[in-house]
């Protein structure tokens, strides 16, 4: 007798898990995985961190997103299966479970938390772990719920957990992995729609069904040299090196452009919004100071109890047991208690975060600077920052939609390919002027000021009157 579980979702509507069909063991595993404590923790980690300070509706969680990614991954996998002659169900199974679990290692306020961790551990090589490392560790752990579930359903002592962890930490080379990480992966397809819906932003719409209908499995070179003269090298040295990934039929070119532009609009208008980024800076600073104080152990001058999970995490070297105790609620409780009963700088910071007293910023146009941008930057960098590094925060971030976050080059598996009739797949940049324009990349540079008067001195650095400042 059929036995289904159903989840209603604001983006995808009905998400169904088939728990009885013999071919649906992935659904059965997914349903059980959703219910392990490590996955339930994601209910308490917001997908967009502090974006709700800017977009009040953006309170959706990594829990809902992860289930959405699993749902989209199943759709992509069906498309891939219909186009592949030598289908490998084991690899498909690993990829679908990876899609569900890909965010399980995210900490509270993901970006702000990681920035504080990098700073806290900068002089202790090897201790920092980003969320991808935590994800792999949580999945593979013998002592935690994910592996136990996978062991019960698939046997082999849960060995599939190692395959899932490995898939999430290595570059994809086949179509199964491309479902989890590629230019058109399930993660991206969910968050673009979900974040747009929940923020209420009008920007960033994608033609989802049309894109899916025009999706094809192709093989592309895995090694791409930089530059025109390197084409000869590619052809002579790598005649057979290929990776499998997705491409689009040429008739979907405009929809593909809109898909890429959607990311650009969401990054520029939502993820990198100046108010959100300012709040992230404040939370990172709070976490770093809280961590440094916690490291003093029982004598730490903190308002929270010495058993508070945030304090115990920071009192030790990073470890999975303490890490899994962390979520947004834990950090908020530390902020609230510190705001009420703390003292000194930490109390001021906590009150400011709790009550949304945002820092104001000065933005520098780094792509097309005016003389004023240069004068302001010179003034801040040479006159202010050397003596005020604790009250001025520098925010630099790439807005590189068609380049990787490291601003080196777009990875082969993250390029968007168009399949042309009677030709090899080509990069969409070859055919699209809008994408070419985005390929150069942009960056943001903002300075945030705790002291409003210091900011005003920057705005008037070349003698502007009040009504002339921007």
């Amino acid at each position: 007798m059929a036995h289904f579980k159903r989840i209603r979702d604001p983006v995808h509507d009905l998400i169904i898990f088939d728990l009885e069909n013999r071919d649906s063991e992935v659904d059965k595993a997914a349903w059980q995985l959703i219910n392990v404590p490590e996955f339930q923790r994601l209910r308490r980690v917001k997908q967009l961190g502090v974006s709700e300070f800017t977009f009040p509706g953006a309170t959706h969680t990594r829990f809902a997103h992860s289930i959405g990614v699993f749902h989209v991954a199943r759709k992509l996998m069906t498309i891939a299966k219909n186009q592949c002659s030598d289908w490998n169900p084991n690899k498909a199974r690993v990829a679908l479970i990876a899609a569900l679990l890909h965010d399980i290692g995210h900490g509270p306020f993901s970006h702000a938390f990681e920035i504080a961790e990098i700073d806290r551990l900068k002089d202790r090589p090897g201790l920092y772990k980003d969320h991808e490392h935590w994800t792999a560790e949580i999945i593979a752990s013998e002592r935690h719920g994910v592996r136990q579930v996978l062991k019960e359903i698939f046997g082999a002592n849960g060995a599939i957990a190692d395959d899932v962890a490995s898939l999430l930490t290595t570059d994809p080379t086949d179509i199964y992995a491309a479902v989890v990480s590629s230019s058109f992966d399930a993660d991206r397809l969910d968050y673009l729609q979900r974040d747009r819906l929940m923020t209420g932003s009008g920007a960033g719409a994608i033609d989802f069904e049309w894109l899916l209908d025009n999706l094809r499995v192709v093989q592309v070179p895995s090694v791409v040299e930089e530059g025109e003269s390197a084409v000869a090298i590619d052809r002579s040295e790598s005649p057979t090196e290929k990776i499998e990934t997705f491409a689009f039929e040429e008739k979907a070119l405009q929809a593909v452009e809109a898909f890429i532009l959607a990311r650009y609009h969401l990054y520029s208008q939502v993820y990198l919004h100046h108010a959100t980024r300012g709040m992230e800076q404040m939370i990172s600073k709070f976490l770093l100071e809280f961590a440094n104080e916690s490291a003093r152990g029982v004598v730490a001058n903190l308002a929270v109890h010495e058993d508070h999970p945030l304090r115990t995490y920071y009192a030790e070297e990073p470890n999975i047991r303490r890490y899994l105790d962390l979520d947004d609620a834990v950090v908020w409780s530390a902020i609230e208690i510190t705001a009420e009963r703390g003292n000194g700088s930490l109390k001021d910071q906590a009150k400011r975060i709790r009550d949304r007293k945002l820092m104001k910023s000065v933005a520098i146009d780094i792509q097309n600077p005016t003389a004023l941008d240069k004068a302001r930057r010179r003034f801040i960098d040479t006159k202010l920052l050397p003596k005020m590094e604790n009250s001025i925060f520098v925010d630099r971030a790439p807005l590189s939609i068609y380049k990787d976050a490291q601003r080196e080059n777009v990875k082969p598996h993250k390029r968007v390919y168009i399949r042309r009739k009677h030709d090899e797949p080509v990069d969409v940049a070859r055919l699209s002027k809008p994408v070419q324009a985005l390929a150069a990349g942009e960056e943001i540079l903002r300075y945030y000021f705790l002291d409003e008067s210091v900011r005003n001195s920057v705005l008037k650095v070349t003698g502007e009157r009040d009504d002339e400042t921007r």
Partner: protein, 172 residues
């Protein structure tokens, strides 16, 4: 202009005023660092091997202060994007590149620029795996992180480059 901004511009200027590719630029600075550049850039491991956020920022800043140009072009064959950096500052502006002499830096740059960006990436990665991560079986790890990339003679080219530069593991 900071010291690192100046080094980035110097690398381009001493390469003949033009350098192709962001991966190339990053790996060249990394390998020069091992030869005594002393740029103060901190490196971490990313997709293409050792990478420095500070170098990426220095590129942005040098462009901001009008000492470096970057254009993005697309390969005619397949549309793959790549960067071309240009500096109009004369070589005589760089009697030193960090702690390297101009002549020493130019010789190193000539050698490094004769390699493909993938060979540079492999050489920098091998150095990183053996010297920073201190992995005994770096070949296996290289294949895991960069599947297929070390084929077709690229690994041999990277090892030869390290040997000529007298950098480990080949030198040890």
């Amino acid at each position: 202009m900071t010291k690192l901004d100046d080094i980035v511009v110097g690398v381009v200027a001493l390469s003949g005023g033009e350098l192709v590719g962001r991966i190339r630029l990053q790996k060249i600075v990394y390998l020069l660092e091992q030869k005594g550049l002393k740029s103060d850039a901190k490196f971490t491991y990313h997709h293409y091997g050792p990478y420095s956020e500070a170098i990426a920022d220095a590129v942005t800043d040098a462009k901001f202060w009008d000492t470096l140009e970057e254009t993005t072009e697309f390969r005619k064959l397949d549309g793959a994007p790549f960067s071309i950096f240009r500096s109009h500052r004369p070589m005589s502006d760089f009697q030193q590149l960090g702690e390297l002499s101009q002549e020493g830096a130019r010789n190193l740059l000539a050698r490094l620029n004769s390699e493909s960006s993938t060979a540079l990436e492999l050489a920098a990665t091998i150095h990183w795996l053996t010297q920073v991560e201190k992995l005994a079986d770096w070949q296996q790890e290289l294949e895991r992180r960069k599947p297929g990339k070390a084929n077709f003679g690229r690994l041999e080219k990277a090892i030869t480059l390290l040997k000529e530069l007298e950098l480990p593991p080949s030198s040890s």
